[in-house]
C-alpha cells in the first residue's frame, strides 16, 4: 500500500531529513513510526500525502507513483488518505458536526448519505452527543478524537496520525489507541508516528525506528 524506494529529502536550508529510505507497508497493516523529535517522522508522513516532495527516490501509494503527480491529481490522492494532524487543524468557526462534514463536501458526497456518515464517525470516537458543540469548548482528548473522526469519515484506504497522543494523559492515550485499533480491524492501513514509548510496549505491531533520517536496525 505504501512503498518507498531510496527516498531522500533535503530541505532548501541543507538539512537532510530523510536519507535513502526503503519502506514497505502492506494493505491493512498497522505500523508505528518512532524516533526522537527531528528524526524525520513528520517529513515521512508528509511525503506519503504529497504535502511535501522528496528530493530523490520513488514513492508509490496504492500502486501509483506519486512523485511525478500533476498538481491537478493531488486532491484525489489525498482523498484516499485520512490525516490526523499533530496540531489538529480544527476549524473554530463551525461546530463539531460541520468539522467532520468538510471532507465529505470536498469529495462531493451526496447530501443524503453525508449525515449518516458524519454521525457514524462521531459515534466511533464517542462524540455523537457533542455534534452541536463548538470545538473551542472541547477538551484536549475530545479535540483529538474530533480530528480522528474527520480523518476517517470519508473512509480512506490509509490512516496517518502524527503524534496522536502527544498532549494526552495515559488514559486518554489508551482510548485513542483503541480507536485506531478498530480501524485496523476493518482493513484500513494505519501508520502512527509517536515518540511515546509506553504506547509501543503495550502493542505487538511492527515498529519502525527513525534515527537521523535512516531506519535503525
Amino acid at each position: 500500500m505504501i512503498h518507498f524506494k531510496q527516498v531522500s529529502k533535503r530541505f532548501p536550508d541543507g538539512y537532510q531529513a530523510l536519507n535513502n529510505i526503503d519502506l514497505n507497508i502492506d494493505a491493512g497493516e498497522m505500523v508505528f513510526l518512532t524516533g526522537h523529535s527531528g528524526a524525520g517522522k513528520s517529513t515521512l508522513l508528509k511525503l506519503i500525502a504529497a504535502i511535501d516532495r522528496p528530493t530523490s527516490g520513488v514513492i508509490a501509494i496504492n500502486g501509483h507513483n506519486i512523485v511525478q503527480l500533476r498538481p491537478a491529481a493531488l486532491p484525489f490522492l489525498r482523498r484516499k488518505i485520512g490525516f490526523v494532524f499533530q496540531d489538529y487543524k480544527l476549524l473554530f468557526d463551525r461546530n463539531v458536526y460541520e468539522n467532520v462534514l468538510l471532507p465529505l463536501q470536498i469529495s462531493g458526497f451526496d447530501n443524503k448519505i453525508t449525515a449518516g456518515r458524519v454521525r457514524a464517525a462521531l459515534d466511533k470516537v464517542g462524540l455523537l452527543k457533542k455534534e452541536k458543540a463548538m470545538p473551542i469548548t472541547l477538551s484536549g482528548g475530545e479535540r483529538q478524537r474530533l480530528c480522528i473522526a474527520r480523518a476517517v469519515v470519508h473512509r480512506p484506504l490509509i490512516l496517518i496520525a502524527d503524534e496522536p497522543t502527544g498532549n494526552l494523559d495515559m488514559a486518554y492515550a489508551r482510548e485513542i489507541m483503541t480507536i485506531f485499533h478498530s480501524f485496523h480491524q476493518v482493513g484500513v492501513t494505519v501508520l502512527i508516528a509517536t515518540h511515546d514509548a509506553s504506547l509501543l510496549e503495550e502493542n505487538r505491531y511492527r515498529v519502525l525506528s527513525l534515527q537521523h533520517g535512516k531506519f535503525a536496525a
Binding site: P75, L91, D93, P103, F109, R150
Partner: protein, 304 residues
C-alpha cells in the same frame, strides 16, 4: 452525479449568502460603493439617451429664416430671391410675406388680440429656406454670407442646435465609455480587496481543505459566488439609485413641462440594457474575486 454537483453549488451559493449576512455593515458598504460607482456612468448614459430621443423628434434638414428690414421693398425681395437661387445648398425657397405671417400668428396663438391692438403689423417679410444637409462649419459660413446681403435684418438658423447637440452627444458617449471603463476597474479593485480580506480570515480553512483533498475549484467556488452576488447587488443598487434620481428629476420636469405644455420626462434604462447592466456588474464582481483568489491560492500552496 449531476445532482450531487448541483446540490454542492446550491450549498456553496447558500454559504456565500450566509457569509454576506454575517458581516452586514462591511458588505453593505462595499455594495453601496459599487452601486455608486456604476450609477455615475450609467446615469450620464441615460441622460444622453434621453437628450438623443428629444433631439430625434425635431427635423434633421437644416432650415434658415431670412428676415427683411421693415422698409424692404418688393425689389429688394426679388434681389434676395435671385441670390438664394444662385446658392447651391439651398434646396427649397418659401416666401412668407408680413401679412401672411400676421395671419398665421393670429390663427395659431392667443396673440391675435395683442397684434390687433398694435395698430400696425410689426412683422417683417421673410424667406424660409431648406438647406442641403452639411457640416456645421459650412452651415455657419452660409449664415454669415446671408447675413451680409442687402436689406436683411437677421438670418435665423432654425435647426442647427440639433446638429450641435448631436456632436455634444457623441462626445458625451466617449466620456461615458471612458468613465465606465475606469469605474469598472474600481469595482474590480473593491471586489479584489474584499475577497483578499476574506481569504486572509479563512486561511485555516483553505489550508486544511487543500491538505484533505480539495480541488482548486472547490476552494475558489465560494469566493467566486460571493464576488458575483456582491457585483449583482452593486448593479441592483446602481439601478435603484438611478431610478430614485430620475423620479426626483421627473417630478421637477413635470412642473416645467406643464407650464410649456410640453410632454417630456426621462426614461430609465430599457429592459435589455438593465439586464446587461446587472450581468456585467455580476461579472465584474466575479472577475475581482477570481483575480484575488488566483494570487492567494498560489501563495497558500507554497506555504504548506
Amino acid at each position: 452525479m449531476i445532482k450531487a454537483w448541483l446540490s454542492q453549488h446550491v450549498f456553496v451559493f447558500g454559504q456565500a449568502l450566509k457569509r454576506m449576512v454575517l458581516s452586514p455593515v462591511t458588505n453593505l458598504l462595499s455594495i453601496l460603493v459599487m452601486g455608486i460607482a456604476f450609477s455615475l456612468p450609467v446615469g450620464v448614459y441615460i441622460l444622453l439617451q434621453n437628450l438623443h430621443a428629444i433631439s430625434g423628434q425635431t427635423t434633421v434638414t437644416p432650415q434658415m429664416s431670412l428676415f427683411f428690414k421693415q422698409h424692404a421693398t418688393e425689389q429688394d425681395i426679388d434681389t434676395i430671391r435671385n441670390l438664394l437661387q444662385e446658392q447651391k445648398r439651398v434646396v427649397r425657397i418659401e416666401f412668407v410675406s408680413k401679412d401672411q405671417a400676421l395671419l398665421q400668428l393670429q390663427q395659431s396663438g392667443g396673440l391675435g388680440d395683442i397684434m390687433h391692438s398694435l395698430g400696425r403689423n410689426p412683422l417683417p417679410d421673410a424667406f424660409v429656406v431648406d438647406i442641403q444637409d452639411a457640416n456645421i462649419e459650412a452651415l455657419d459660413q452660409l449664415q454669415t454670407t446671408m447675413q451680409g446681403w442687402p436689406e436683411i435684418e437677421y438670418v435665423q438658423f432654425d435647426s442647427v442646435w440639433t446638429k450641435r447637440l448631436e456632436a455634444i452627444l457623441n462626445f458625451g458617449r466617449v466620456v461615458v465609455l471612458l468613465l465606465f471603463a475606469l469605474l469598472s476597474v474600481a469595482v474590480v479593485a473593491v471586489m479584489f480587496n474584499t475577497i483578499r480580506l476574506q481569504i486572509m480570515t479563512r486561511r485555516d480553512e483553505i489550508e486544511l481543505s487543500k491538505l484533505i483533498g480539495a480541488t482548486d475549484g472547490f476552494i475558489r467556488r465560494p469566493f467566486l459566488y460571493f464576488g458575483a452576488i456582491q457585483g449583482l447587488a452593486g448593479g441592483i443598487t446602481a439601478w435603484l439609485i438611478i431610478a430614485l434620481v430620475l423620479q426626483a428629476i421627473n417630478d421637477e420636469l413635470k412642473t416645467l413641462a406643464d407650464l410649456y405644455a410640453w410632454d417630456v420626462h426621462l426614461q430609465h434604462l430599457p429592459e435589455r440594457d438593465s439586464i446587461s447592466l446587472l450581468l456585467f456588474a455580476a461579472w465584474l464582481g466575479w472577475l475581482g474575486a477570481r483575480l484575488a483568489v488566483a494570487g492567494h491560492l498560489k501563495r497558500i500552496e507554497s506555504d504548506t
